[in-house]
């Protein structure tokens, strides 16, 4: 029989998915009979859900992002327009020659 201490350790460490089937079942069973471990696990789930809503995909992006994107794209184009300026590449990476080196 697993203790509450063990169950919370496994749940919080995200080891559940990797755990062998028997262990997963044991935790499921433990949650059925232990309301405190159930509460603990559901609080961690709710925390994850909250983080996803606050900062996950689809959360609002600021308008300043398009300005930042422009800055970066300009930077990339500037490099294309001056591709072989050896001064800009760092400590003798060899510029173009280096890029053709196979893997």
């Amino acid at each position: 029989m697993m203790s509450c201490r063990e169950v919370t350790r496994i749940v919080a460490s995200d080891e559940l998915a990797e755990a062998p089937r028997a262990r997963r079942l044991a935790i499921r069973f433990h949650h059925l009979i232990c309301r405190y471990c159930r509460r603990y696990a559901s609080q961690l789930r709710a925390l994850g859900e909250a983080a996803r809503k606050m900062w996950g995909p689809g959360s609002r992006d600021p308008d300043s992002l398009s300005r930042l994107e422009r800055v970066l794209l300009d930077e990339i184009r500037a490099r294309r327009d001056a591709p072989s300026s050896p001064g800009s590449s760092e400590d003798g990476s060899g510029g173009d020659r280096d890029q053709t080196k196979p893997r």
């Binding site: 201490r5 405190y36 925390l47 809503k53 992002l65 970066l72 930077e75």
Partner: protein
């Protein structure tokens, strides 16, 4: 989980070669498909609007700079987020290395009896985001985490990345990542419980 946009960046030999050659169209597509996510992560890590922009810009510039050394052994997003992580750690000034010993371990341990049953069971928490106070509470508690723990939590929960990818980004083993998850989640939970957030409604 939707990862369609990021999947464009799948690593195939051609793609790797184009990154290494700093092919403008390829670099542009990387910027376009990853910028919003990179920025969101920077913000979630507690950087202010201006600082986040600076860090994101520095991240992409470092990425473009080091593109010729990209070996295609990891997903380009993984590589990019590894750079971001280092920039965030720098910006936060703290040493991002996880301490061998962390007091949160004792705090958690103190909640259990010798036989492993709850001595101080978790108190009910209200995590309804509609409540401004609760959002603020989560942000504040997250802000108190050491950078590496915070990033582990955010990359997993907010960004839904796989444990393998997070290990590569943070440069830790899978065992260590489990420790980071355990500590970050318990720190957050304890912090929120201490704030005693009940929410103003049901």
């Amino acid at each position: 989980m939707k990862r369609r946009r990021a999947d464009i960046l799948e690593d195939d030999p051609d793609f790797t070669a184009r990154i290494r050659a700093r092919d403008p169209a390829t670099l542009e597509s990387v910027v376009r498909t990853t910028l919003a996510q990179v920025h969101r992560i920077a913000r979630s890590a507690g950087l202010g609007p201006q600082q986040a922009e600076d860090v994101v810009q520095a991240t992409f510039l470092a990425f473009i700079e080091s593109a010729p050394t990209f070996e295609g052994r990891s997903h380009v997003r993984t590589w990019l987020l590894g750079i971001l992580y280092n920039k965030i750690a720098e910006a936060r000034r703290g040493t991002s290395r996880e301490a061998q010993h962390d007091p949160i371990e004792e705090v958690v341990e103190s909640r259990f009896n010798v036989d492993g049953t709850w001595a101080r069971p978790p108190r009910p928490l209200d995590l309804h985001l509609r409540d401004k106070e609760i959002r603020k509470g989560i942000e504040d508690c997250l802000g108190e985490l050491p950078t590496q723990q915070k990033m582990a939590f955010l990359l997993r929960e907010a960004q839904g990345l796989s444990t393998q990818e997070i290990c590569k980004i943070l440069g830790v083993t899978i065992t260590h990542l489990g420790v980071l998850f355990f500590r970050s989640r318990n720190r957050l939970r304890e912090c929120l419980e201490q704030k005693g957030l009940k929410g103003s409604r049901s």
